[in-house]
């Protein structure tokens, strides 16, 4: 008996020429017993991508970014294992195709995925990374003259027109200077930063704050590869791992206020302080409010800044060397005082927080807040080996006084 139209999976096809498209349509209608119908992209419940087509990867990225909840079936001659997709080896057989459609259907009905039970936030898993002797890496000049080369001029097949409307994601960075640091970041009580003896007490536990729950929720979202909502008793936060985005109906002022509050032990529901739930964007309706989308790292960075208030994460040791894996994307982040200097120093090689304070002659709060934010987005780590306490980066070569002064004048100009 044929499926009713309402039972049919709505499927869109990608990477297939006219003839292949028609063949696939007949295959689905015939041997696959009409379990699905071919529709346009915006109507589909499931995407089928020919992974052997040119630009298949771009197509896949587009599908993942456009609608993370929609199942994707990948057809290929090669045995592929791509996250968040259902693989069907070519030439597609009826049984494997039907199994793929069933899996897609189950995914849509949510039968495969059980609700998450996040209660306590855990510290993010940080891989142990061996910190080698600091070295400055430079690209060696090519010895041979490079042959004339014409770079391709073509653009990508498509881009996401909605992305430009997500204005909060693409606005320029906010720069905080020393004068407005306290008013913007807030003040932490109980620590006198002018007393070096108290610096070791200037730490905080992310688990006790909204920051910890957000970071753990993000980890869950990535592990499960699905859109989830963090319910905190405050405003719901929606996490979209495929597009590295978050959605929150709150402005920075509201977020800053909530960031500094130690999370209450009063349960939100079922004895849990915060809960996670799955999200269907169509039902939630949030996907239409584009100005509330935020880039994930930018959000976590500023949340960490407002939670830290000039403290450092308690999991880190103030005396052990820390290292930066990469420069932060400063044009889209809150830039705290001396953040770029600290980043420039740390990418050269590992240093302890105490060392950075000494070398750059800056207030400890500025180093601690940078460390908190960089650690929160996973680009900063701490060495564990005793040997690394001895091995520290060489002091960067002293530039000529003339050049140093020139760079300073350029900085003055740029900061206007």
């Amino acid at each position: 008996m044929k499926s009713k139209p309402t039972d049919l999976l709505a499927v869109s096809l990608y990477g297939m020429d006219g003839r292949t498209h028609k063949t696939m349509t007949l295959f689905i209608q015939g041997p696959c017993k009409g379990v699905a119908r071919i529709v346009d992209e915006h109507e589909a419940d499931v995407d089928i991508i020919d992974a052997d087509a040119i630009n298949a990867r771009v197509t896949l990225d587009h599908c993942l970014a456009r609608n993370p909840l929609r199942p994707i079936i990948i057809l290929s001659l090669e045995k592929l294992k791509i996250e968040h997709t259902i693989f069907v080896e070519k030439p597609a057989k009826t049984e494997t195709m039907l199994a793929a459609f069933k899996e897609a259907k189950d995914t849509l009905k949510g039968k495969k995925k059980k609700p998450s039970k996040l209660i306590k936030p855990e510290e993010p898993i940080r891989a142990e990374v061996k910190v080698e002797t600091a070295k400055v890496s430079k690209l060696k000049p090519s010895k041979e003259k490079q042959a004339p080369f014409e770079l391709a001029t073509e653009k990508k097949v498509f881009s996401n027109p909605l992305e430009q409307k997500k204005t909060a994601k693409h606005k320029a960075a906010m720069m905080i200077n020393e004068q407005n640091f306290s008013s913007f970041i807030g003040i932490v009580k109980g620590v006198n930063f002018n007393d070096p003896e108290q610096w070791r007490n200037a730490s905080y536990h992310t688990k006790q704050y909204y920051q910890g729950y957000v970071q753990s929720s993000i980890q869950v979202a990535y592990e499960k590869g699905q859109v989830i909502k963090l319910n905190s008793g405050w405003k719901p936060l929606i996490i979209l791992p495929h597009s590295h985005e978050l959605w929150l109906d709150a402005d920075d002022k509201q977020l800053r206020a909530f960031a500094g509050v130690e999370v209450s032990s009063v349960p939100v529901s079922d004895g849990k302080v915060m809960t996670l739930s799955k999200v269907n964007p169509k039902e939630e309706g949030f996907s239409t409010e584009l100005d509330k989308f935020q880039e994930m790292n930018a959000f976590v960075w500023k949340l960490a800044c407002w939670t830290s208030k000039g403290r450092y994460p308690a999991v880190l040791n103030i005396s052990d060397p820390i290292y930066l894996k990469q420069w932060p994307n400063f044009t889209r982040l809150v830039i705290t005082p001396h953040a770029m200097r600290i980043a420039a120093l740390l990418v050269v090689g590992p240093r302890s927080m105490l060392d950075i304070i000494k070398v750059l002659k800056v207030k400890p709060q500025y180093v601690f807040i940078f460390v908190s934010a960089a650690y929160a987005i996973g680009i900063l780590g701490q060495s564990k080996r005793q040997a690394d306490q001895i091995i520290t980066a060489e002091v960067p070569a002293i530039k000529s006084v003339q050049k140093k002064s020139l760079f300073s004048r350029i900085l003055n100009k740029l900061r206007g």
Binding site: P148, E163, T331, R332, H338, A344, L406, K413
Partner: protein, 179 residues
């Protein structure tokens, strides 16, 4: 008078002209050099355009901003342009078909200059095409054993371009600060 310059490079359409325009204190100039064969019958004239701007940093002191010609076949000019340069700004267009190919090409082309000075990378059009992500660029650079500032940049925004050039300055010397 100082002859210091900052070089802006990158593929056609990446935003070099716009970025220089965002920083320049004077209206942007396009310097045209006609490269013509001596025997006009055999070869048509070729015009090579460079973008040029000026940043006044002090009374009488200027930083020259040069944009390399967009056509990569004029790469022979790049060595000339980099003389006296204090650093390189590489702009990449994220909506191009293969930005990583562009990345590798320009890093290789300017390898000698980068080794002597430094480079900062601005990725434009990220609101048009979100992938590759900034983290993807860092993964590429890690394979090249490089740790360079890579920022998402709107070349029309002076603040973005300013932050990128500031990062270039700090990467040249973390010890500097405003005077």
């Amino acid at each position: 008078m100082s002859q210091y310059k900052i070089i802006f490079t990158g593929p056609v359409g990446a935003g070099k002209t716009t970025a220089i325009g965002s920083l320049s204190d004077v209206p942007l100039m396009k310097t045209d050099e006609a490269a013509s064969d001596m025997t006009k019958e055999r070869k048509a004239e070729t015009t090579v355009a460079m973008d040029y701007g000026i940043m006044n940093i002090n009374e009488g002191e200027k930083i020259h901003l040069y944009g390399t010609p967009g056509q990569e076949r004029f790469d022979f000019m790049w060595d000339i342009l980099t003389v006296g340069g204090i650093g390189l700004v590489l702009l990449l267009d994220n909506s191009r078909a293969d930005p990583f190919k562009d990345l590798q090409f320009f890093l290789k082309s300017f390898a000698g200059f980068i080794q002597e000075t430094g480079v900062a990378i601005g990725v434009t059009q990220m609101d048009v095409s979100t992938r590759p992500t900034i983290d993807d660029y860092h993964r590429q650079l890690k394979e090249l054993d490089m740790s360079i500032p890579v920022f998402s940049v709107d070349a029309r925004e002076k603040k973005d371009v300013s932050i990128l050039v500031q990062a270039l300055m700090f990467s040249l010397d973390p010890g500097i600060d405003e005077e």
